[in-house]
Subunit: 459 residues, 2 copies
């Protein structure tokens, strides 16, 4: 009687020595590769439970030899065989086949063949690319990273809030939002008003921090930007925690703990996948991530950063945009100079001019800056945007009026400052940007299951 | 020096006896109630970390007496005080105040007052209702239930897939879908085609089970139904796992394990909240849930169920719809009769007529039925819909043609049957329906943070 197992259980059992050499096992899975050499055949086999393949071995005396010999990449099979533990070998075990059933074949139209296929081509077949090494690694990391996020917050006592996708309160102006209609000729019929897809859960999660103290939202958000770059998508996921009785420095501590926790979690739970990315996608990735979890994040005030950039310019450093002044919304080259050349690691840039930041940020006593912090990271640029929120009703209302906002439609949000207000702070992490940082995948389309971008929404 | 703590830490520390009677503590939070009787004042206090309140005590010799006496429900305060452990008392501890600072006041326009407010009224202030007992309980359960779902699947080795919200492949016909546009006068400009909000992640998650074996999606889904009932919402969350090399019976085992796990998890992690629902919302709830986790789910074939219903009718049971025949899509009263009168517990109704089920379900060899299973539960009706999927390319294609579907736009989905196909199965759980089952809250609007229904999308 064969024991039904998965490839993951085989690896775990062989390494922990809980499986007996010579035992009979049964597995279902897919053929990754099938080579016949001399009298011996070798099938690389994967059932999706583990990044690593299992090796199946057969010879020409095998009863199902004819089927085996013809197996193509991609076939699904059910096998039985004898486990041979080979801890000193190239792989820690092999299965010597005693039985093989073909479940689902493939013909020669199968788009995934042994030859290397480009990421561009694989984007045209998002339903098949998870079967390749790269995307099997990407999407397992995506799952593990999601779990890391939930574990961190739940362990810390945060309450997960499902902020709405549909909203009549659009936080950042109409230009970049998608509108939602049930009948195109009567766009406001269903809800009785204009409804859009959320661009951020922050405004909707803030009320919950005044009930539960520490909360987070983690879900899809949408921007209708018409840009076709490697880091913009129309649909992407955001992580947005909000903490009460907390200032910007509590927030920055939370960010550092959080990012280090989720990075360590992925390193610990996806070692094979990270090795793969380190070898095939971004050489040096593991070292980068190990530095990231071990290095202290440094705080640099915006004003100080401008001084540093002006000094660099004076000393002959060439910036494409060398019009550097207090008030400038820093560009990628400035951020990279600071993280890569000056501080050689992640920095929190803090206390930005209020003009270049959002209306809800706490106004500092200097009258010029707000209690905001962006986490800048070498190569990536901004990874996290954070701020303490303005908790004072009058200051917040005045700022909204200065900016010409329709204060009447934000009365519910202002209620938080009217009734039992408290200092609170939060941040936003673009989940896909974190995925790109952890995997080295340079295009956002390659870390999403079915990427949606300008002019692209197939399937 | 006072030790900064949360209410949860106080309860845990007092029960585990790790906190010293007489220690000095500091806490931030909100006033739930403030009574002054004779020379003593009592503040019920909550900081959101715990369903239970802490009791703060002061007398008229207290330095901040004047502030304390005037504190209204909803004020946020920072306090210091001495911990008095009273394990034999009505509550296990009190804090005798030594210092009190008002952080954020409230005026008499605050909509939450001591008098009982209706759920209908509270729906008009979704940003404030999480501060009430009922909604503090609901939204913590929602968070804990979400985590239970992730823990179950991740412990079982499932990969979490973020299936897309935006799709050009609308699974169940255009009538009940929302369309997404960036420019109402050029609705297809942004994506170059008609794009809608997903009604289910199933078709998009299936390809991942042919790569990772066991996968799940958990995210928002949308229906533009124009019905105004207590169990329909335009936006709601679905849990949809998909398992490869599995038939309907593997799927039913998974459903039973899963539902019992998440229910036990909520019972174990939200005991105070469940007690509250049992006492205030649905008397008998705890007994119902304990039965649910302890009782075996019974399988009843659809054909057998029809026989039972016909027999009941013959014996004089009155159904509003008594036109009972093989092929009938059972109505709620029929389902309730089966679960409440006949089997007195959850049942899997299996092998439905193919005419009343979806195109992708595996066709049984009788030519008439499909390998579907609905889990029916007393009072609620259908909790889960499950099926084995048709893995045979020809059978699936023929069924789609019979139903007049546009086969050409499903070629990617058919590829799963073309290349390395395998038996696979899955199910869908409406997350809000599970929330209603666990809390006894009878209206779906009361288990969503910001409910969106026909004609309702405020905030």
């Amino acid at each position: 009687m064969a024991t039904y197992m998965t490839v993951r259980e085989l690896y775990e059992g062989v390494y922990s020595k809980s499986l007996q050499d010579g035992m009979k096992v049964e597995i279902d899975g897919w053929v990754i590769n099938n080579r016949f050499m001399g009298k011996m055949g070798f099938i690389n086999f994967n059932d999706g439970t583990c990044f690593k393949n299992a090796q199946l071995v057969y010879d020409d005396s095998f009863a199902d030899f004819e089927v085996s010999e013809k197996l193509r990449l991609g076939c699904s099979i059910n096998i039985q065989g004898i486990l041979h533990v080979t801890l000193d070998g190239r792989q820690p075990f092999e299965i010597h086949l005693t039985k093989l059933n073909l479940i689902g074949g493939v013909d020669d139209t199968y788009p995934l063949q042994k030859k290397k296929t480009s990421f561009e081509f694989l984007r045209t077949i998002p339903h098949l690319r998870p079967r390749t090494n790269t995307f099997r690694a990407v999407f397992r990391v995506r799952s593990v990273l999601s779990m890391a996020i939930h574990e961190f917050f739940q362990n810390e006592g945060f309450v997960y809030v499902h902020t709405p996708i549909l909203t009549s309160n659009d936080c950042e102006g109409a230009g970049q939002t998608f509108q939602v209609v049930s009948d195109i000729s009567h766009p406001e019929e269903y809800f009785g008003k204009r409804v859009t897809l959320t661009v951020s859960g922050q405004l909707h999660v803030e009320p919950f921090c005044e009930a539960f103290r520490d909360v987070y939202t983690f879900g899809p958000t949408f921007r209708a930007e018409k840009s076709n770059t490697s880091h913009h998508a129309a649909e992407f996921w955001m992580v947005e925690p909000e903490i009460a009785f907390a200032d910007l420095y509590d927030d920055m501590d939370l960010i550092e703990d959080f990012l280090k926790y989720i990075t360590k979690y992925v390193l610990a739970n996806c070692p094979d996948e990270i090795d793969f990315f380190d070898q095939r996608i971004e050489p040096g990735l593991k070292e980068k991530l190990n530095n990231f979890v071990n290095k202290d994040f440094v705080e640099v005030e915006y004003t100080k950063a401008i001084d540093i950039l002006l000094e660099a310019k004076k000393n002959g450093h060439k910036f494409n945009n060398d019009n550097i002044y207090w008030g400038l919304d820093l560009e990628s080259e400035h951020e990279r100079y600071l993280t890569e050349e000056v501080f050689k690691g992640p920095i929190f840039l803090t206390n930005y001019p209020k003009e270049i930041k959002a209306f809800y940020m706490k106004q500092n006593s200097d009258g010029k800056t707000v209690a905001a912090a962006d986490l800048l990271v070498p190569e990536i640029g901004e990874l996290v945007g954070a701020s303490e929120r303005e908790a004072d009703l009058d200051k917040l209302t005045n700022r909204m009026k200065e900016l010409g906002m329709d204060v009447s439609s934000y009365q519910w949000y202002l209620d938080l400052r009217r009734y039992g207000s408290c200092p609170h702070a939060g941040f936003g992490l673009g989940f896909e940007r974190m995925m790109q940082y952890l995997t080295g995948m340079s295009n956002i389309r390659d870390v999403e299951a079915y990427p949606r971008t300008y002019k692209e929404c197939d399937f």
